[in-house]
């Protein structure tokens, strides 16, 4: 009798386990099936000739950039993305390669912009004289390299802006929609 009860109990236990398994599997299955069928959408946010920047890319980049620069706008991020496309395209023309797009852009700037910048000694001296109060009595020789570095970066920034302005002139750029709005 006890044996029969044991068997019944075991059978009921197994049945429960099976039912639980089936429920679990059905849930998993539903999750798997519905995972891909949730509504998704994307569209072109802007293009540079034949290269598109999509809304989803813009949104991702915007979210990432906000972590570093909280007050940046989406338009500014989109413009930066357009600049990247322009520089990467130019780098490709010069067959500049790298492990990542960031590396390619850095390589392009170093080779094509920074390499041609020469800050004349007179400029460094002039800057030192004009801003001597900022250097709290430091000798020219002690601060010279820092000034040169600063002026180089300043010139680099100006030339890069000029390069981008030229590149934008020859490209067909269109911003289609202000996403998030």
């Amino acid at each position: 009798m006890k044996k029969a009860e044991d068997i019944r109990s075991t059978a009921s236990d197994i049945t429960m386990k099976i039912v639980a398994c089936v429920l679990l599997l059905v849930t998993c299955n539903l999750l798997l099936v519905t995972d891909g069928s949730t509504g998704v959408s994307d569209r072109v946010a802007a293009f540079v000739d034949d290269e598109a920047i999509t809304n989803s890319e813009l949104q991702e980049q915007y979210t990432e950039t906000l972590k570093i620069t909280p007050d940046i706008t989406k338009d500014e991020v989109l413009n930066t993305m357009i600049n990247r496309v322009l520089i990467l395209r130019q780098a490709k023309k010069y067959r500049i390669e790298g492990p990542s797009p960031d590396e390619v852009i850095k390589e392009y700037i170093d080779l094509k912009v920074r390499a041609v910048i020469r800050v004349p000694e007179t400029e460094i001296e002039k800057y030192y004289k004009e801003n001597s109060s900022m250097f709290s009595g430091k000798e020219y020789d002690d601060i010279r390299d820092d000034i040169e570095k600063y002026l180089t970066e300043k010139e680099l920034n100006a030339r890069l802006k000029e390069t981008l302005r030229e590149l934008r002139k020859t490209a067909y750029i269109k911003i289609l929609s202000k996403q998030g709005q």
Partner: protein, 897 residues
Amino acid sequence: MQKKRLLKSRKTILSVFFVFFFFVLSWSSVNAFMPGKIVIHGLYSINRDEFIDLLGLGGVQPDKERIRKGIKRAFLKGIFEDISVEVSDGDTPEITVNVKEKEFIRKVHIKGNYPVSRKKIAGLFLLKEDQVMRYDLIPQAKEELKEKLALYGYPDARIDISFEKDKKPCRVNLSVAIDAGAPLLIKTLHIIGTELDVRVPLKTKPGDVYDRIRLNDDLKRLAEFLKKQGYFKPSVGPYSYREGELDLAVIPGKKLTIAVEGNKVISRKNLMKEAPFFEIETFNDEVISEAIDRMLFLYHAAGYASAQIAPVINSNDSVVNITFFIFEGEKYRIKNIQFAGAQLPHKKLEELMELRKGGVYNPDTLEKDRDSLKEIYGALGYLETEVKEFDVKIDEKDKTAEITVNIHEGERTEINDVDIAGVAPEMKEILMGIAGLKKGAPYNEVDISDARFRILDYYGNYGYADMDVVISRTIEGHKASLKFSVIEGLKKVFGTTIITGNNRTKYTVIKRELINREGEPYNFKTLADDRQRLYKLGLFTAVDIESFNLGDDKKDILIRVKEGNTGAVEFGLGYAEYEQYRAFIELSYRNLWGMNRQGSLRTEISGLERRVILQYYEPWFMGYPLPFRTFLLHEQKKEINIPDGNTTYKLERDTVSAGFEKKISSSVKADIYYEFSLVKTSEVQPDVILSREDLGALVISSIKPSIAYDTRDNPFEPSSGLLAGISLKIASPVLLSETNFTKLTIYGSAFHKLHKRVVLALSVRGGVAFGLGAPDELPIVERFFLGGRSTVRGYEQDTLGPKGTDGNPTGGNAFLVGNIELRTSIGRGFSLAPFFDMGNVWVKAKDMNLTDLKYTTGIGLRYITPVGPLRIDYGVKLQKDPGESRSALHFSIGHTF
């Protein structure tokens, strides 16, 4: 207990299977995505299938990443301005794609009055046909055109640009209305700065429009003019224009005269090429010294090793004179080259040098030869070899040089061990074979580098485009150990192919030619083959293939094509010895309906025949790579007996033919054609009638299979290879033919280069035919004839073989012809071809007899043209029969065989 355990284990197995299948089904249901439907709005320029291919949404789960990549990929097509994709919720989601295509300029209409040609204006106008319509550029285009017209002398030009939508979607027509306005005129032209008469080269004259484009060309011409007068750096310009007064500043500068004295061996003209003062517009000590070095280089190359050049310069305010005084010295020849300390065969070493025993002594090549010797020692593993400076002893009496080369070879370094790391053992074995570096082989960097590239190539074929091989070397006691470390990187496969630039050509025409397949290992060779196959279509002037990653293991391929002009009109006029005049005109188009289908209409006319051929060619019949060709032919022809000029018979033929061609391999091609001809023969000379079918109308319906083997290096001008083939023609009442015969033709030609200027060309051709009715002779239009420019050249056209009672050639059912030519180039595109021909025709195949061949010999002159050589052959009979001419002269295009 055991039963319970058994039951439990069965249940466990069942559960595992159940779970497994459940997950498999679930998983497969995820992957075998069944979209509800894909709705596309706004797509006009490409077909739906191509677009879905580009988006990558055919039958797969449309997740966020896939949609993004799809949009970016499709955009590369270059025709879209916006694409949006929306996927609805649910098990069978509906995909809605909204597309906005870019507008393209279809036509630019230029109207009004303008001073230059329409083509020029179209070139100057920023917005061009077939380009994207940039509405934002209209003001700039207008302003730029206005500025350019001002340069042409029309500063008040008025330009209006308007546009209207074309009937075709996404196409715009532009209208540019120009009113050039009044031009600026030149009333007077003043030359300032010189008293010289420099107006000669100027095209601009008083009374002309103030055209600055032309004026700038004038300035260039004037500068050249002054240089020719001896002014080495003239200053021409600037100019100014004010109220009709054009002032042009011209300062000729100093005159430069160059003299050469003492030169006998090398002409002044050749020496002056080395002193380009006028071209570079510079005259200083540096360029003079450079010019002297270059002149001496010429002397040294000619063996004048002790030549010297001294410049003497005289100068005043207006003239600079330079005289190069040359002492040429003596010409030296190399008496002997000796090697000291070299174990390698001296003869082999000498062969590597430019300096040669008996040749001229050129001191400028000493260093080059020294480097060559060092290089070969390096290649043989002698890493420490020292080749000392050559010891040169000049014998002034004999005018000879004796060269001694002192070499310290050192010990040879050998490969002791080669290892390949970073791969599985079985792959290592394969790569060892590919590297091909053996133990005991000389150590040299060239072989090692080659081995590395072979490994890279091998991997490249399997999709490892980013892999690298790093070599480490250890050399101890002249024994080298090499280790090739393989860094495989990620395997890449082909992704989607995007095709752009095919405005007229259909997507499928390009797609079907491509051998890259999505999912197969990515490799460069496949892409190179794709490019070659697309060029072979003859539709594109440029095919640019680029691969790019959209962030996964797939490399998408972007193919940019530039379509060429696929229509052609060709015509030609010529003269031939029998036909007298010959002419043809052909209209052809090779991209009908954008499907690479080809059509042509050709008319040929000559003193003896008129022919019209309408042809159609389908490269892919019913979607299979099986070329299909059909043509209609109408022909009227008069056959004459050349010696007496009498008409043998007249022929009118209408033919329709259709068939398939198949390239079985790179050298074997087969085809099969059906041909239906309605032939009418008239005015047939009684003595040539061998068959009742020789007269009147006759229907010949036949099939013609043939196969050809061709390994010639160049079909127009072969210098090596073979061409052989066999062709059968069967006409039968079964095919509704009124005549019944089988005709077999075989041919074989071989080409062999005996010398760089001499090609031996051999050919054998033969044919037999059997009439299957009564009589067994074939109708005259199907019989074989021999003699003439492409068979046996000692005979006039078709005059060799059996003749009728009146001496007219009757042709026959069998023939054999052989030719031998020695095609010898004599330079400047001309060649001579002595030849020996043999052959004969027999009325019946059973009459064929090799002892009955007729022999002729002769010589031909050829001039090479892009379509084959222009040819004149003069053949002489070696067995002249009574009444026959001794020889024959032939003109034609193309080789005999």
